[in-house]
């Protein structure tokens, strides 16, 4: 086969980025969205790592590798926080999606956000020291 090694992996990386984007847009369930983010991220890393192998040098460029390792760690930090928030939000009664969450509505509908518009009780009272236990 007369294909350099980086080509299939770079194309795979590009495909993964697109796939992840698709998964992000069509999935409303938050856990799947986190999977989609991770796929996009690892697709970017794969693309990067493959391209780093382009030159004919016998060893790989260590700078992209270091950056990818950093990226992997940053990704898990964000994933951990996101998953924690998803579980905490659901535990507080929020369901597994975000309110007003289909992709179109997110762009058009500002005031329906979480009932922030008039008529819904808005509880900033827990900023007053006496009422600090109200949300807990």
């Amino acid at each position: 086969m007369n294909l350099e090694i980086w080509i299939p992996y770079a194309l795979c990386g590009s495909a993964l980025i697109g796939l992840g984007l698709y998964g992000l847009l069509v999935n409303a369930r938050l856990l799947r969205r986190i999977l989609a983010f991770n796929v996009i991220g690892s697709g970017i890393f794969l693309l990067f790592g493959a391209m780093a192998r382009r030159s004919g040098a016998p060893y790989a460029d260590p700078v992209p590798q270091a950056m990818i390792i950093t990226g992997i760690v940053v990704a898990i930090a964000a994933t951990a926080l996101a998953l924690g928030l998803i579980v905490a939000h659901a535990r507080a009664g929020g369901g597994e999606g975000l309110p007003g969450d289909d992709a179109m509505a997110e762009v058009q509908d500002d005031e329906g956000l979480d009932g922030m518009s008039d008529g819904v009780s808005d509880d900033v009272s827990d900023e007053r020291p006496e009422a600090q236990e109200s949300q807990r």
Binding site: E4, W6, Y9, L25, A57, V63, I68
Partner: protein, 311 residues
């Protein structure tokens, strides 16, 4: 190097497994597919001569991420939350178009990229001054050490963020929820057998990172897994979040890193390793960072302090 049929097959497999993870029906299978995807990616990294990355991907990308996902799924399932609204049908088409165009644009860009040297030669040229024989470690801790310092703080920020999700009444208790395990069951047996093995491998990985693939992140993750298994199988209670030795383990590495960086001012530098002491400094720093990373990852897996009464 030339691609072989194995590479083509691996790429197709990676893509299919990722698609199954994102588009399949059941969440549990999706997560399993995702973990598999991570392991396959590690194979891809091996083929691309990026062994350090392969280790990191397998341990962190597939391993710890997988655990976090499974735990999140279990907790969500137990709550039986309202289902998320389905997206509008037009969204699928738009999403598909967007996905294809992005991938195509990237593919075209790849084709038209100018050949570029990369920094292999620059790294090799200064490697002897860096205090390590592993070029990736040299870049991570020395040449671009400032990135790594910020990155350990990113991990800390995520942990602090996870801790904000604890309830006031549960603070500052033991991390996560209490586990009840049969002392003679299979899980407990694993708990007795696995951690020492993981501990040995973890320490080895940190040590060997000085001259071969390995290092603080990979080793730290394996150390974290040793602790996670011990706690999950009930052999040790989860630590209290305000425990002094826990906080020391968590912070000694990053504090040493920041102090070392600032101490560079004595040489009119920032984050400077004098070449004669670089090897010792790097090894010490890697060890401290590995402990910090292990502690942070384990605490992220345990979760914020939470009492058992809630769902």
């Amino acid at each position: 190097m030339m691609a072989s049929h194995f590479d083509i097959a691996l790429c197709l497999l990676i893509f299919s497994v990722a698609a199954a993870a994102l588009l399949g029906r059941q969440t549990f299978m999706a997560i399993v597919f995702f973990i598999t995807y991570g392991l396959l990616l590690a194979l891809a990294w091996l083929r691309l001569d990026a062994v350090d990355v392969a280790l990191a991907e397998a341990a962190i990308g597939a391993g710890v991420t997988g655990i976090l996902l499974l735990i999140a799924r279990a907790r969500l399932k137990a709550m039986d939350p309202r289902d998320a609204p389905l997206p509008h049908p037009a969204v699928r088409t738009i999403a598909a178009l967007a996905a294809v165009s992005i991938s195509a644009a990237l593919g075209l860009r790849i084709w038209s990229l100018p050949p570029s040297e990369g920094l292999q030669k620059a790294v090799r040229a200064r490697l002897s001054e860096a205090g390590t024989d592993n070029p990736v470690t040299a870049v991570l801790l020395n040449f671009r050490g400032w990135d790594t310092l910020l990155e350990t703080l990113v991990l800390l920020a995520a942990l602090l963020g996870a801790w904000t999700l604890s309830r006031d009444k549960d603070w500052p208790g033991r991390a996560g929820r209490a586990h009840h395990t049969l002392p003679d069951g299979v899980l407990a047996e694993f708990g007795r057998f696995l951690p020492p093995v993981a501990l040995t491998i973890g320490v080895y990985l940190v040590w060997v990172g000085g001259h071969q693939p390995g290092g603080a992140f990979q080793g730290g993750t394996v150390l974290a897994s040793a602790w996670i298994v011990t706690v999950m199988t009930g052999l040790l209670p989860a630590p209290r979040v305000d425990d002094a030795s826990l906080r020391t383990a968590l912070l000694a590495g990053p504090i040493a890193f920041v102090l070392l960086a600032t101490a560079g001012l004595f040489a009119d530098r920032f984050l400077y390793y004098p070449p004669e002491q670089a090897k010792a400094l790097l090894l010490g720093l890697e060890a401290a960072l590995a402990v910090a990373i292990a502690t942070t990852l384990a605490l992220l897996v345990f979760g914020a302090p939470q009492s058992r009464e809630e769902t």
